[in-house]
């Protein structure tokens, strides 16, 4: 496919890796966090860590919507799915995310609930139009990338007066999560035998497709207030390697700027039309408890009162159902970059993608699942 294959060229990747090896100063460490699960997946899938010198380390961030979905809200969705006449629709991985005592939406489906995996929210709208006698609820999760389609669907539902359709809104915002990571000193020195870097994380690989929507401006505080460079990068291996090189160059020069490597898709101002649609439909929630990160102020979106008829939370008086996560699970530390998947005692033993105990093992973008699929034999000497 054009615009994918060129950015996966192995020879150029080797060349960029050689360049990184040359420019990274042996006297210091470079701890770089990729915020997005999309980057985590690309880094693991293409073996990017193996191309880097030992003093350049990548730390996985919390940017995986399935991973950070509060389990109490997931449990509320499972309860909703089991109500009579409800058809609950959601994106793929979400259906396998563990709620209370390992319950999932897929298990609810096995018990007889009508849970459907859809590719697009438009498919859920279509189900609602075709089955007016059923109550169709779309379980919306995701960062700013996935939010504009939900806004468009809600506007369609209102225009059509589609009364049997509603949305359970769990959309979250990237900049507040970045701020939360920077504001706490939970930025730890990840174990791994490398000299810890001052202040934990030295720089960020910034989101690809979130940035197509919000642009580069919302990240300025990372550079201005916290003096960390951030480079917005595409999700292909050459994009990631180029972003790492740009971060190393900034750090070598003592700079902290927001840079854009993904210029083919990201404009500084983002997608204004999408931003307008989101503002029309959603308002900021004052508090939202992220799985792993805890309560973060102004970090999530709720449906505006004007759209109350299509807001499942209001319509079905949904409340969070408290859930205790599995005691052996260290997802909370993994999501903060404080521990690595392989540090977890249940990693790849009791917790696998087929039977995830924690949310990071569910989606291919979760740090644990990505490491399970692509990296778990890296350290094994044959």
């Amino acid at each position: 496919m054009k615009y994918l294959d060129e950015f996966r060229d192995g020879r150029l990747a080797q060349g960029l890796a050689a360049r990184i090896d040359r420019e990274a100063r042996p006297a210091r460490g470079y701890a770089l966090m990729e915020f997005c699960g999309g980057h985590t997946h690309a880094i693991c899938r293409y073996g990017i860590e193996d191309l880097l010198p030992d003093n350049v380390r990548l730390i996985h961030g919390p940017g995986c919507p399935v991973c950070i979905l509060p389990s109490g809200r997931l449990q509320a969705a499972i309860a909703l799915a089991e109500r009579e006449r409800v058809i609950l629709c959601g994106y793929g991985d979400l259906l396998r995310a563990p709620g209370a005592r390992g319950d999932t939406l897929l298990k609810a489906r096995a018990r007889g609930a009508e849970v459907r995996m859809v590719y697009s929210i438009d498919d859920a709208l279509e189900i609602a139009r075709a089955q007016p006698d059923r109550t169709v609820v779309f379980f919306a999760i995701g960062f700013e990338t996935t939010t504009p389609p939900t806004a468009v669907a809600l506007l369609h539902a209102r225009r059509e007066g589609l009364s049997n359709f509603s949305v359970y809104c769990n959309h979250v915002l990237t900049p507040p999560a970045l701020r939360a990571l920077l504001a706490t000193d939970s930025f730890p020195h990840v174990q791994g035998g490398v000299t810890p870097c001052a202040g934990g994380v030295d720089g960020f690989i910034g989101p690809a497709h979130v940035s197509t929507v919000i642009g580069s401006q919302p990240y300025e505080f990372v550079a201005a207030e916290y003096r960390r460079p951030l480079v917005i990068a595409g999700f292909e291996p050459l994009d990631v390697l180029q972003a790492i090189l740009l971060l190393i160059r900034q750090l070598n020069a003592g700079q902290a700027r927001v840079e854009n490597q993904y210029t083919r898709a990201v404009q500084p101002e983002g997608n204004r039309k999408a931003q307008g649609l989101m503002a029309e439909v959603f308002a900021t929630r004052s508090r939202f408890a992220w799985r792993g990160l805890g309560e973060l102020p102004d970090s999530a979106l709720a449906i505006r009162p004007e759209f109350a008829r299509w807001d499942a939370e209001r319509r079905f008086a949904m409340t969070e159902i408290p859930v205790t996560d599995h005691q052996a699970c260290i997802c909370a530390q993994v999501l903060r970059g404080a521990q690595r998947p392989q540090d977890c005692t249940v990693f790849a033993t009791a917790c696998t993608p087929d039977h995830p105990l924690g949310s990071c093992m569910v989606s291919a973008e979760g740090a644990c699942a990505a490491h399970y699929h692509y990296g778990r034999f890296r350290q094994v000497r044959l």
Partner: protein, 79 residues
């Protein structure tokens, strides 16, 4: 979740929809998040929605820079 893939517009269906080609797969997508599109344009598609345009000139420039850096990897380190 935020995965989005490049696709080429092969038919503009109406003001909010287009038919695109994704690696040989034809799919109807929503273009409600973008202003006017023309046949031949490249877009990035996420959950059935075109999220942004893909700029061919910027893509070429990024690849040119990558190739330049990759091929001069043995040269002296700048500044």
């Amino acid at each position: 979740m935020c995965l989005a893939i490049p696709a080429q517009v092969i038919e503009v269906v109406d003001a909010e929809h287009a038919l695109v080609d994704m690696s040989g797969v034809r799919k109807r997508i929503s273009t409600a998040l973008l202003d006017t599109l023309a046949v031949g344009d490249y877009v990035i598609v996420h959950v059935g929605y075109a999220l942004s345009r893909l700029d061919p000139d910027e893509a070429a420039e990024t690849l040119r820079l990558i190739a330049e850096w990759a091929e001069t990897a043995g040269d002296e380190v700048p500044g």
